[in-house]
C-alpha cells in the first residue's frame, strides 16, 4: 500500500464513517436515545426502533467474520482490561447519553451543520486533554494502544 499516501487513505476512512453514521441516523439525538431505550418511549421494540442497534450489532458480526477470514494469521492488537476500563467506559456512557454523540458522531453532527455540536466537540477535546494530564500524574497508561 505504498501507492496511495497514508493521509489520503486515512481521510477516505473518515469520510466513509461520517457518511454512513449520518445516513443511518446516528447523528440524530432522538434516534440514538431510541436505540439506548430499545424503543421503550417510541412504541416499543420493533425493527424500526431497534434499527441503529441492529446496524451496530450487524457491523460487529461482519467485522468479526472479516477478521476471521482476512486477518487470521495477523497479530491482534491486544486490548486488555486495565484501571481505566470500567471507570472510563461509565463516564463515556454518561456523556454520550447527554450529548447524544460519541467522539465521531459529534464531529459528523458539526459537519451536517448542527452547530451546537461544536460545544460537544470542544467538550470532548477538553475532556481528553484533562484526562491525559490526570492519568499522567497517576501513572496510568492511556491512549497507548488504540488509534
Amino acid at each position: 500500500m505504498r501507492a496511495i499516501p497514508r493521509i489520503v487513505a486515512v481521510a477516505a476512512f473518515g469520510f466513509v464513517l461520517g457518511l454512513v453514521l449520518s445516513r443511518l441516523g446516528f447523528t440524530e439525538w432522538r434516534e440514538v436515545h431510541t436505540m439506548f431505550t430499545l424503543g421503550l418511549f417510541a412504541g416499543g421494540p420493533s425493527a424500526s426502533t431497534l434499527r441503529l442497534l441492529l446496524a451496530f450489532c450487524g457491523a460487529v458480526a461482519i467485522a468479526m467474520a472479516g477478521f476471521a477470514v482476512f486477518a487470521r494469521r495477523d497479530a491482534v492488537p491486544r486490548r486488555p482490561i486495565h484501571k481505566g476500563t470500567v471507570v472510563g467506559g461509565l463516564l463515556f456512557g454518561l456523556g454520550w447519553g447527554v450529548t447524544g454523540g460519541c467522539p465521531s458522531i459529534a464531529v459528523v453532527q458539526l459537519g451536517e451543520g448542527r452547530f451546537a455540536a461544536g460545544a460537544s466537540v470542544a467538550g470532548v477535546l477538553i475532556g481528553m486533554w484533562l484526562a491525559r494530564r490526570v492519568t499522567a500524574r497517576l501513572g496510568w497508561r492511556a491512549g497507548s494502544c488504540a488509534d
Binding site: R23, I62, A75
Partner: protein
C-alpha cells in the same frame, strides 16, 4: 433527516471499515485515539520532527550503525554477523498515525456529514432536535450540558483507551476483554441516562 439507510446497509458499511482499515493501514480502527492526537500538539510535533530526522532507508540505517560501532570499538566485526531476528507470522502492526493523519481523518469525517446533508437536501437545524430541547432547553444550559457531556465523553474514552469504534466495533469484533468490558460499561451508563431522560421528559 429522514430517508435513512436500512440497518443492513449500515451494518455492511460500518462492519467493512475496521477490516479495510486494518488491511490498508495495519492499525486498529478507533476514532478517540486519533482525536486524542489533536490535544497533544507539542508531543505530536516532536514525533514529526524525530521522524524527519530518522534515517530514510535500510542503507542509511546500516551506515549509521556502522559509524556508531566504529566509534565505540574502533573497528567493525569481521564479515556479516547475522542478527537473530524473529520474523512475525502474518501481517504486523503498521506505523503509528500522527497528528496530520488524525486531522485529515476528523475533517473528512465532518465532510461525510456535510455530503450526507447535501444528499438529504434539507438542513437539520443548528440544535439537536425537539427531544433534546425538552430535556435541556436551547440556551446556556443546553450548551453547558453539551460541553460537560462532551468532556465526560473525552475523559471517559481516554481513560478506557477507546470509544464506540475502537472498543465497540473493532475491539469487540476481535473479542478483546478490555473492549467487551468497556462496551458493556458505556452502553449500560448511556442506557441509564437515556431511561432517566425518557422517564422525566419523554423522548
Amino acid at each position: 433527516m429522514s430517508g435513512y439507510w436500512p440497518w443492513w446497509a449500515g451494518a455492511l458499511g460500518l462492519g467493512i471499515l475496521p477490516i479495510a482499515y486494518w488491511l490498508v493501514l495495519r492499525r486498529s480502527f478507533g476514532v478517540s485515539g486519533l482525536m486524542g492526537r489533536l490535544v497533544s500538539v507539542r508531543e505530536e510535533f516532536a514525533v514529526l520532527r524525530d521522524n524527519a530526522a530518522a534515517p530514510k532507508s535500510q542503507e542509511d540505517l546500516e551506515a549509521l550503525l556502522d559509524a556508531a560501532t566504529r566509534e565505540q570499538f574502533g573497528s567493525l566485526p569481521p564479515g556479516d554477523v547475522p542478527l537473530p531476528v524473529a520474523v512475525p507470522r502474518g501481517r504486523a502492526l503498521g506505523a503509528r498515525l500522527g497528528i496530520l493523519e488524525a486531522a485529515a481523518f476528523v475533517i473528512a469525517m465532518a465532510g461525510g456529514g456535510l455530503v450526507s446533508r447535501l444528499y438529504a437536501g434539507h438542513a437539520p437545524g443548528p440544535w439537536m432536535g425537539e427531544a433534546f430541547r425538552r430535556a435541556f432547553g436551547s440556551g446556556a444550559l443546553a450548551l453547558g450540558a453539551l460541553v460537560l457531556g462532551g468532556a465526560l465523553v473525552g475523559a471517559g474514552t481516554t481513560l478506557a483507551d477507546g470509544c464506540s469504534t475502537g472498543h465497540g466495533l473493532t475491539g469487540s469484533a476481535r473479542l478483546q476483554p478490555g473492549s467487551l468490558v468497556a462496551t458493556a460499561c458505556f452502553m449500560a451508563a448511556a442506557m441509564g441516562v437515556s431511561l432517566l431522560i425518557g422517564w422525566r421528559v419523554g423522548l
